[in-house]
């Protein structure tokens, strides 16, 4: 293992985050605060409790998850796409670094940043609502697992994308809708029966439900199923990464 190379890539990416601290950290916090104000305070005050939890508190896990998903994907996809675009990737490709090491460096940094943003959002939330975390260990496990899985997914998107449009396409047109419709703002029990079934096809449901369970002990789907599904996504991403690695897809002509 070339640990120094992993560290070099990781630090490089974290420095990039530091340079763009405003876009990286401040903007997700502001947008989340806006959600709290609009949904939690304004609309939430009109909504009775959901499953015994105040609406403002109910949406916190979903909102956090939403941020983690979008942050992981955008950080990781941009992190690898940009050097491909500018050509600076040549140096990483010509260094004595294995593909696994490259992945650990880039994905590790993207996941770190996503976890940071997620934590900041949770802290921000405590200013607006009463948070309680019943299963902190599970909470951290879900947080980390989701950040890593979707950073891997973002990395794949960053390698697959041939232009900036494609880079934006998946996060904007697939992930955000799935996360919104995955029960960030409602319990799926509130849906008509038919849509409850359809919704189970949405992977985000499992992430959000499991994450919310770690806070309030209530879940839309069984927590083990949530955890299992997260691992399934992780597995799929790892298989895809392995394929890219084997073929040199879009990295080595």
């Amino acid at each position: 293992m070339n640990y120094r190379a992993i560290l070099a890539i990781y630090q490089f990416e974290m420095n990039r985050t530091k340079r763009t601290i405003f876009q990286s950290v401040v903007s997700p916090v502001i947008s989340t605060a806006l959600y709290f104000v609009v949904f939690g305070a304004a609309i939430g005050s009109q909504i009775s409790e959901v499953e015994g939890i105040s609406y403002g508190a109910f949406i916190v896990p979903g909102l956090t998850m939403l941020s983690i998903l979008t942050q992981s994907i955008s950080n990781a996809s941009f992190g690898i796409y940009f050097p491909r675009f500018t050509g600076t990737i040549y140096e990483v490709m010509s260094a004595p670094v294995s593909f696994i090491e490259i992945v650990i460096g880039y994905v590790g940094a993207a996941a770190t940043k996503a976890v940071l943003v997620g934590s900041i959002i949770l802290i921000t939330a405590t200013f607006f609502v009463d948070l309680r975390i019943e299963h902190p260990v599970w909470m951290v496990a879900f947080l980390l697992l989701t950040a890593i899985t979707f950073s891997l997914f973002g990395f794949i998107i960053g390698i697959w994308s041939a232009n900036f449009e494609q880079l934006q396409f998946v996060p904007l047109l697939v992930v955000t809708p799935l996360a919104f419709l995955g029960g960030s703002f409602y319990s799926i029990n509130m849906l008509p029966e038919f849509w409850q079934k359809v919704t189970l096809l949405n992977p985000a449901v499992y992430l959000i439900s499991g994450f919310r369970w770690s806070f309030y002990g209530q879940a839309d789907v069984n927590v083990l199923l949530s955890f299992g599904m997260t691992f399934v996504f992780l597995g799929i991403c790892l298989v895809l990464i392995r394929r890219i690695f084997k073929s040199g897809y879009r990295l080595r002509a």
Partner: protein, 307 residues
């Protein structure tokens, strides 16, 4: 001892179906300065990119000091430094940070002293804390060289390092390259400035259409292929070459007061003695004479356009 670079039957067909390299064979000795010449699109960058691991060969093998670039890529790549043809740098990193990053990528311990040394050599020390985006093109080129030297490579590839670089910077660069060569680093460079190869290289390779068409010691190459010209300055002007000299490869130039005789140096007989005799018999008076050797550039152009 295995050569610095051993290339065997190396082929590359791009996805477009274009055959950029056709069974290239080439050995580069340790410590030599090898100049790879060839017109645009000949396959120079393709060749370098394969050795450095940027693209995959479709056939053949490459070994760097005995290490296969595929099966033993870590050992092979650790030995290599690459200065790419394109000016591809980070934008917002500082000079020092980007050079230290390169060292880390190659798995080496931090060494501020070495980094400082490299930056000083390249006159970048004053700019160490500047963002790369604020540097001029020539300075960025230096940054790329500094990055390539950050991990103390034993084999250095310079892909047209002096393209778009002013005379002074070019001089500096060659100073550095000379210094590296003296310290035992193997250097492979491509260039379109043939006088550079002529001045610096130990050996010259010419590639055209994906094939190595010639590899030769530079001095031998110039001797073997070099045609010399004997320039005869006449005491008076003439309007045509006299009949008595018609059998020689002569050309009338200047204001009609100069005869240029082209001859092969490696032919046993140059014909100069006979020419001189016939010249005297024709009644022409000589004012001065000089000889000129073809430059590498002329040799190169002749070679590439032969077919």
């Amino acid at each position: 001892m295995a050569p610095a670079i051993a290339i065997k039957d190396l082929s590359k067909t791009y996805e477009t179906g274009f055959e950029a390299l056709k069974r290239v064979n080439l050995d580069i000795e340790r410590g030599e300065l090898f100049a790879l010449l060839g017109p645009n699109g000949a396959g120079k960058t393709t060749l370098i990119s394969i050795v450095c691991g940027l693209i995959k060969a479709t056939g053949g093998t490459v070994k760097v000091e005995g290490h296969d670039i595929v099966t033993d890529y870590r050992a092979a790549r650790s030995l290599i430094g690459l200065v790419p043809q394109e000016l591809t740098t980070e934008a917002f990193e500082t000079v020092r940070a980007t050079v230290s990053f390169s060292r880390g990528l190659f798995g080496l311990k931090k060494d501020p002293a070495h980094v400082e040394n490299v930056l000083r050599q390249l006159s970048l020390w004053d700019k160490r804390d500047n963002k790369i985006i604020t540097l001029s093109g020539g300075m960025k080129r230096r940054v790329l060289i500094a990055k390539a030297l950050a991990h103390e490579p034993r084999v250095l590839f310079l892909d047209e390092p002096t393209a778009g670089v002013d005379v002074e910077l070019r001089r500096d660069m060659w100073e550095i390259v000379r210094g590296l060569r003296e310290s035992g680093v193997t250097i492979i460079l491509t260039t379109h400035y043939i006088e550079e190869a002529e001045e610096m290289a130990d050996r010259v390779g010419v590639i055209n259409n994906g094939e190595i068409i010639l590899v030769e010691e530079k001095s031998e190459l110039m001797q073997k292929l070099g045609r010399k010209r004997l320039i005869l300055q006449l005491g008076s002007t003439i309007s045509a070459i006299p009949d008595g000299l018609a059998s020689y490869d002569l050309e009338l130039s200047g204001q009609g007061d100069e005869l240029v005789y082209t001859y092969d140096t490696h032919g046993g007989r140059t014909g100069i003695t006979n020419l001189m005799n016939d010249l005297r018999d024709s009644g022409l008076r000589l004012k001065d004479l000089q000889t000129k050797q073809d430059s590498l550039e002329k040799i190169f152009v002749d070679l590439v356009h032969k077919d």
